[in-house]
């Protein structure tokens, strides 16, 4: 059954491989996926280790429901200490790898040490081998997978791998499977590169037993109907996440020219342009939303290239942030980052920051080797992507990520960089939206929109509906506000979304099926049902909240162990000092208020049971059973 999958510990240095069952007790405490990952990282890592050294540990995890009859149960979670931020590294990906890992008999991999030379793991039906990968080193993402299919003589093998960016230890290199599915954030690809681990290949034919097959089928059918009937899913099926651009750009919620504007005027990168290039759409495992386009680049040096995506994120990375207004640049940029294995978000943000520094004269033609890093210079932007992946010239500096690059560039360069805890923001502008701002400030993995963003706050939903969502499953009777520019009750929204996303990342279901961008999707109640029908484990919605709370707090403890404090839950000064210059009247002229933001942060800590420094109180640790961590049970 779904609960009999194992954990494997692989030491690349000694080549020792050990497997162990995962006790049901651990499932009840952490489910799996991201939740159990937090436990593994907290237990297997020491504080202050070098993230790109052999002491770091890489975890690869399937969620508790990955591969089961829970709609879009496609997800794989990757963790390590992040070489980008120095705090918890944690990244979640779709595709087909996670289910295949389970078919091969495993739920969690803990990879330690550094291989003597390039290596890859070959995992099949309960067996794990370490194989040499000299012939794969230097290959890009698609070619690596192709070579492994040929070598293993099985095109059904699912491969998770790094590209040249990971090999070159670019601190925001990602881990990929397929052409587009990426564990993008926090530099997990660099950790693989530092271990000489080029890829993990899996193939399995083992049954994943469903506890109550008939009921699971029936329930999944109902959920699919519910999900498919939402306007959100129907829009995603047509345009993917790029549809978001229309609303956020019109309103003025998009970072443009790094952080100078909050709207791209005369924008020419709307989602509808994909129609000229798309040859269809594709879905991850078991998903009816199929939010990615399959596209062909038409002109220029990449004419005829097949690629998949792009996401909203790439519209920012190769559009608004860098001042480019050409849809094809987004398509090419997206293709390049996916070929090299770079996080599209961090890549675009780093280039945008460099462009502002170039404009201000902090970077000069000497630093850029003559490359004119001017807003809207599409060719320069695409060239910088390659230079970052190959660590050439300025690319070598930017490859170090915000904090280290700012140190090398010097002057007051850091104050222009839009980052939290050393990780760049999405191209969203949160100056008019306190809830979204609090989310990126407090996210355990550094600035991020996928850890706690209450995106539905932007919809002006009526208060009774907000109460229905945010009032449970753990009771909350404090205030809630439909006004997204307000600070009232936003701490609760952020906390609620944190718990929701932690739970969903631990089950291996995609966030797009939960209350993220639509209020009509699944939440704690439905998760409880899905877990029961598929695994037989019984939880109340409140208990799932507690599990998420436990895992989230453990991520927090990880960061505290690395010396992070309340000061790290804060945004750069520009958020408080530079009002938004454009946008609809409701967002124009807005910046965050330090006093109110501080109050909101206090409120947020209080909701979590953390003290004013953001440290979990002893009674909180006791309530969550974390007072004995690390407990070394796995």
């Amino acid at each position: 059954m779904a609960l009999n999958r194992k954990i494997a510990y692989v030491d690349l240095a000694t080549r020792e491989i050990r497997t162990a069952p995962i006790p049901v007790e651990m499932r009840k405490l952490y489910l799996g996926g991201r939740g159990l990952d937090a436990y593994l990282l907290y237990n297997h890592l020491q504080a202050d280790i070098e993230a790109l050294g052999p002491a770091n540990v890489l975890t690869v995890s399937a969620g508790l429901l990955t591969g089961t009859l829970a709609s879009a149960s496609a997800r794989t979670h990757i963790g390590a200490k992040s070489p980008l931020t120095g705090v918890i590294g944690s990244s979640n990906m779709g595709g087909f790898f996670g289910p295949e890992l389970r078919f091969a008999g495993f739920d969690h991999l803990v990879v330690k040490g550094k291989a003597a030379g390039p290596a890859y793991l070959w995992i099949h039906d309960g067996e794990i081998e370490i194989r040499e990968a000299d012939h794969l080193w230097g290959q890009d993402i698609p070619t690596t997978q192709e070579l492994i299919w040929e070598e293993l003589r099985d095109p059904e093998v699912k491969v998770l791998c790094i590209g040249v960016a990971g090999e070159n230890l670019v601190r925001f290199a990602n881990v990929m499977t397929g052409l587009k599915d990426a564990a993008g954030r926090t530099g997990m690809g660099a950790v693989m590169g530092s271990k000489n681990l080029k890829a993990i290949a899996v193939r399995g034919t083992m049954d994943l037993e469903i506890r109550f097959p008939e009921r699971a089928l029936e329930y999944n059918s109902r959920l699919i109907e519910q999900i498919g009937s939402t306007k959100f899913a129907q829009t995603m099926q047509k345009w993917g996440t790029m549809f978001i651009y229309g609303a956020t750009n019109t309103t003025g919620l998009i970072r443009t020219r790094n952080f100078q504007l909050n709207q791209q005027v005369g924008g020419n990168i709307e989602c509808e342009h994909i129609e000229e290039y798309s040859v269809g759409t594709a879905g991850c495992y078991g998903c009816i939303i199929h939010c990615r386009h399959k596209y062909l680049i038409k002109d220029g040096p990449f004419a005829g290239t097949y690629a998949e995506g792009p996401e909203y994120t790439s519209q920012g990375a190769f559009g608004t942030e860098v001042g480019c207004n050409n849809f094809e640049t987004i398509l090419i940029g997206n293709h390049l980052v996916n070929k090299y294995g770079l996080d599209t978000l961090e890549t675009g943000s780093m280039i945008a920051w460099a462009m502002e520094l170039y404009e201000k004269g902090i970077l000069t033609d000497k630093d850029t080797d003559g490359l004119r890093l001017e807003w809207g210079n599409d060719e320069a932007v695409l060239e910088m992507v390659t230079r970052i992946a190959q660590r050439k010239g300025l690319g070598d500096i930017l490859a170090e990520g915000p904090l280290r690059a700012a140190k090398r560039i010097g002057q007051d360069s850091l104050k222009y960089c839009i980052q939290v805890k050393g990780m760049s923001n999405l191209h969203s502008d949160e100056r008019a939206t306190p809830s979204l701002a609090l989310g990126i400030a407090t996210s355990t993995r550094g600035s991020d929109h996928l850890r706690s963003r209450p995106a539905i706050d932007l919809y002006h939903l009526p208060e009774p509906l907000l109460r229905k969502i945010y009032g449970g499953p753990k009771p909350y009777d404090g205030p809630l506000s439909s006004d997204y520019t307000s600070y009232v009750g936003k701490a609760r929204m952020v906390q609620w979304q944190e718990m929701m996303y932690e739970a969903i990342d631990s089950t291996g279901i995609c966030k797009y099926h939960t209350i993220f961008l639509s209020p009509n999707l699944i939440a704690f109640d439905e998760l409880a049902q899905l877990i029961y029908y598929n695994t037989g484990l019984e939880f109340t919605p409140e208990e799932i909240w507690d599990i998420a709370d436990r895992a989230y707090t453990l991520e927090r403890l990880f960061n505290i162990r690395e010396g992070r404090t309340r000061a790290d839950d804060w945004l750069v000064d520009r958020y408080f000092d530079e009002p938004t210059p454009v946008g609809l009247p409701v967002v124009r002229g807005k910046c965050l208020d330090r006093v109110k933001f501080k109050q909101m942060l206090d409120e947020y800590y209080e909701l979590h049971g953390w003290d004013e420094d953001g440290v979990p109180r002893p009674e909180t640790l006791q309530r969550l059973g974390l007072d004995g961590e690390p407990s070394h049970k796995l």
Partner: protein, 163 residues
Amino acid sequence: MEMILAVDHAKCTGCRLCEQVCSVKHTGANSPSRSRIHIIKWPLEGFELPMLCQQCEEAPCIAVCPKDALSRDTMLGRVALDYDLCIGCKMCVMACPFGGMGIDSESRQVIKCDLCDGDPTCVRFCDPGALQFVPASSVNLRKKRDAGLRLSEVMRRSFATRR
């Protein structure tokens, strides 16, 4: 009225939900290798094709079966498999040109699509409509309508410009 499980590969998004529900329906477990349907993919080119038993009229599997375990079920429009007669010789697996006959790794029996006795689970779950269960008589008419729609768009455009 004979029904046919019609595949429109252009609508397939490659999500493999059909494989998942097929195997759970027939075995109680999710196990793609035990599914009766498979999505064959060329992931680097973005092409996917659902493959399953074609329920042939002149079925090679029926022809080679030494025990008459396979037969034409005209009522449900399928090639039916009688496990009481089957000796597991796997000649049918060898004879099928499409890979429609498989072997269940657990039971060691040959397996094939049985159209879920007239209500195919895969069709029920295929949200994009790549799999459809339709009257045999209307299969080509439906295709004509789809093709006609694309053609009509071109024709209407050229008609509009001429006017």
